[in-house]
């Protein structure tokens, strides 16, 4: 498969997953607020923090209130990770590879984009929980169609890796921020409220029901154990990584797999997770754990880019790696590097 095409499929699928997760974050926040006696505004700041883009937010909006945060995360065209921008990016990527994905999945993505674009022009869509529900459904429909209509070939595996790496990142982000918020309230422990918040976290990743089936009662340790280390629920960190590895192993590469940095990195991270339990993670500091996890995940993303997408020169098949990342605060999300896209337009008869 063409490197450019693989790159676009991977990012198409990452952006769709990202839009879905942002909608999930917002939806769960709206739900939590409904269950609280008064809107203290407290819920909105952490939501922006999950993105790692507080600086951008503060510069453009200033105040953490519902209207600002919802506009920022849903429809801000100037913000790279708003739902609308994600959809626009996903669709532009899909447009460049229309011939490589099924028509049905393209049509769904196109309909999805038009739905969000339409909503962005209405005055109150961003405050409507129904809107976020529809966004989630559109994303799920897209993944379902992709899964049901595409050969399990290179293209599908790149799409799969794209959504899994994005999902692992987002699950870790929500855990990080919510954990922090919860600990702050650790002294005025109110079990009902605690339960409410943790169940909200689980709901935001559609994990509440599945968690209940396994654990019944909610405790912080169990939630942490479930979201990070459960090997069977499809949105946990471990699950996403193991499925990524499965797809990475099925993509032919010019680099042998024992030298393939994407595979090596994924294997290392899986090994690390498998060696941990909830106690160790919490004792060692949740934020530190998540931070290091995200940094390693970014490295894997970087390696995928270097191994499969980077235009290599014909003579040297050697691939250079540059890996540095890992910031103390929640880092910004990875975005697609812009390759030199054709800017001039040729004339056709």
């Amino acid at each position: 498969m063409l490197s450019r095409v693989a790159n676009s499929i991977y990012w198409m699928s990452r952006y769709v997953e990202r839009a879905e997760n942002i909608a999930r974050f917002i939806d769960v926040t709206l739900q939590v607020i409904l269950d609280q006696p008064a809107d203290t505004g407290e819920q909105w700041e952490p939501l922006v923090r999950t993105t790692g883009d507080e600086e951008f937010f503060l510069k453009h909006y200033g105040k953490f209130n519902a209207a600002n945060v919802l506009q920022f995360l849903s429809f801000d065209r100037s913000y790279t990770n708003s739902i609308l921008t994600c959809l626009q990016n996903a669709r532009e990527n899909a447009r460049t590879v229309r011939e490589a994905i099924s028509s049905e999945s393209w049509e769904q993505l196109n309909a999805y984009y038009h739905f969000v674009k339409e909503a962005s022009t209405s005055s109150n869509a961003s405050a409507d929980p129904e809107f976020y529900d529809r966004v989630r459904q559109h994303s799920q429909l897209f993944s379902g169609i992709l899964d049901a209509t595409m050969t399990r070939g290179t293209g599908w595996h790149f799409a799969n890796i794209g959504s899994l790496i994005e999902r692992a990142d987002k699950t870790s982000r929500i855990l990080d921020v919510k954990y922090f918020t919860l600990l702050r309230n650790v002294h005025d422990i109110d079990t009902t409220f605690d339960d409410l918040l943790w169940s909200a976290v689980l709901r935001s990743v559609s994990g509440f029901e599945m968690f209940r089936k396994r654990h019944h009662a909610l405790t912080v340790h169990r939630v942490v154990d479930f979201l990070i280390l459960d090997a069977k629920f499809p949105r946990t960190l471990l699950y996403c990584l193991e499925q990524m590895l499965h797809s990475l192993n099925r993509i032919a590469s010019a680099v042998p797999s024992e030298q393939n940095k994407a595979i090596i990195g994924t294997k290392d991270l899986i090994r690390l997770l498998r060696s941990l339990d909830a106690n160790t993670i919490i004792d060692g500091g949740m934020h530190e754990f998540i931070d290091s996890f995200q940094s390693q995940l970014n490295d894997i993303g970087q390696s995928i880019n270097e191994t499969f997408f980077k235009a290599r020169s014909f003579s040297s098949s050697k691939v250079a790696f540059g890996t540095e990342s890992g910031s103390p605060e929640t880092g910004s999300m990875q975005t697609q590097s812009q390759s030199a896209s054709p800017s001039s337009i040729s004339i056709e008869s």
Binding site: S253, P342, I345, S346
Partner: protein, 494 residues
């Protein structure tokens, strides 16, 4: 009371493709006209709406440049088809095959021995001043000596009912994807009318195109790697490039995806480099290879022409075919048909005045208000004067242009293009149309039964180009033999 029927439809003194001057449907159009008239008005409107939505959903759109909110428009589609009767299609088909054969001879000739010039049929200066003549192509020998694999010839019908060739498009004619999509939309909208009308299928075009391309495989290599080369998503025909690649099941590549090493072309894959054998290129000669043509092209592949010259890769269409799109060269096609084939042209040209000739120029300058003047190398409805619709200032401007560079201009009488009933608000009105059939030249010459009917949606307008407010219609070529024969043709290639 206006409504969607043909009782009050006025052909307005033009040749109407569906309705006779006496208001009765033409032979072959009876079923359509009768059934459409029976439909409740609301129904027809709903179907037109449904079609517009379907086109938007399928993303068959143009991006409106310079609009920040990413506005996209669909290429307007009108649901009343143009119908071509079987006997008339036979005439068109035969005429197009003849024309393409002659044009291919011509291109091969002018890049080699130039018999047609040596024997005085075409003056040397006419050729040398054609901007699209490519000295880089002199001496090239494309596989099977076929240059123009894919052609879209523009035909028009004048008031007298005759069909004429308006333009040859031998570079990268676009629009065939609309033919296929229009058809699929029409079949869904009017399944019964469609079935009863016995329309010839167009669905096999991608398979035929694939075969045409595979036929070019260098060194007779079996199962060649074929790709479509596009300038990218900013090109207005990008949708078509991706559609054709998808329908043929082959990669759609951009210049950056390819590279040339040791005079062979490779694409950059996730698993390494893969050799490319045949390229259906939708990039103009100028932009194709910065080494051979325009050095500032960012879209092309450096070294592509070297690989081509060595016969390690095939290009469709071959570089250099654009010379036949020159509107002065066009005027000589009937002479080419006589010269190369010793035949009489089946489909005539529109009468053409060549401004380089003194007598013609004098006539043109005196009759600017009646004629259509065209620049020899422009396409897309640009660089054109439509005399009867022009102001005195515009005419003066063109008079000056012609005198400054007579070789670059031709003129033709303003034709009374035929019309087809078209949905306008809550009723039908006649709108002018042309027809672009598509011709593939592989092992044999094949003409797609149908083509793109472009319609000038503005009242009275004669300009059908999509960039100038044109839309399109489905084109129904009726079967005359039993349908089974056509069907078995399709089965053979699918």
């Amino acid at each position: 009371m206006p409504s969607f029927n043909f009782d009050d439809y006025d052909t307005g003194g033009f040749f109407d493709e569906l309705i006779r001057p006496n208001g009765k449907p033409r032979s072959g159009s009876e079923i359509l006209v009768e059934r459409i008239s029976e439909l409740p008005d609301e129904e027809l409107r709903l179907r037109q709406d449904a079609i517009d939505k379907a086109l938007l959903r399928m993303g068959i759109t143009f991006t409106v440049y310079g609009d920040e909110s990413g506005t996209e428009k669909i290429f307007p589609f009108d649901l009343i088809p143009r119908i071509v009767q079987a006997f008339e299609w036979h005439h068109i088909e035969a005429g197009l095959k003849q024309r393409i054969r002659a044009l291919n001879h011509f291109i091969d000739d002018i890049y080699h021995d130039q018999h047609i010039i040596k024997e005085g049929i075409i003056p040397r200066e006419m050729l040398e001043k054609a901007k699209s003549f490519r000295p880089q192509c002199v001496g090239l020998k494309p596989p099977h000596r076929i240059w123009c694999h894919i052609t879209g010839t523009d035909l028009v019908r004048d008031k007298d009912g005759g069909i004429y060739v308006l333009e040859d498009n031998l570079r990268c004619p676009s629009g065939v994807s609309y033919v296929l999509q229009n058809r699929s939309v029409m079949k869904r909208s009017f399944p019964k009318i469609f079935a009863d009308s016995k329309v010839r299928p167009v669905i096999d075009y991608p398979s035929r195109l694939y075969q045409t391309l595979a036929h070019l495989s260098p060194h007779g290599k079996p199962d060649p790697t074929i790709v479509v080369l596009t300038p990218g998503i900013y090109n207005s025909a990008y949708y078509e490039h991706s559609f054709l690649a998808q329908q043929m099941g082959i990669p759609l590549v951009q210049g950056e995806d390819l590279l040339v090493q040791d005079d062979c072309v490779y694409m950059r894959n996730t698993e390494g480099f893969q050799q490319v054998d045949v390229i259906y290129r939708r990039i103009d000669d100028d932009f194709m290879d910065p080494e051979a043509f325009r050095a500032d092209s960012m879209l092309g592949v450096p070294g592509l022409m070297r690989a081509y010259r060595q016969g390690n890769v095939a290009l469709a269409n071959a570089p250099g075919t654009g010379v036949a799109d020159d509107k002065v060269i066009y005027a000589y096609v009937p002479d080419m048909i006589k010269f190369y084939l010793n035949e009489t042209p089946s489909i005539p040209n529109v009468k053409t005045y060549i401004c380089e000739r003194e007598d013609d120029r004098k006539y043109v300058l005196e009759h600017l208000s009646e004629l259509v003047v065209k620049a020899a190398n422009e396409a897309g409805g640009y660089g054109m004067l439509i005399g009867p619709h022009s102001t005195k200032e515009e005419q003066d401007k063109f008079a000056a242009l012609i005198q400054a560079d007579p070789r670059n201009y031709i003129a033709q009488p303003t034709l009374s293009l035929s019309r087809v009933p078209t949905v306008v608000g809550d009723h039908f009105e006649g709108r002018h149309v042309d027809l672009r059939p598509y011709v593939l030249y592989g092992e044999s010459i094949w003409v797609l039964p149908g083509g793109l009917t472009r319609v000038a949606l503005k009242k009275g307008s004669l300009v059908v180009n999509s960039s100038q407010g044109g839309g399109s219609k489905d084109t129904w070529v009726l079967a005359d033999l039993d349908l089974a024969q056509d069907q078995s043709d399709v089965d053979k290639v699918l």
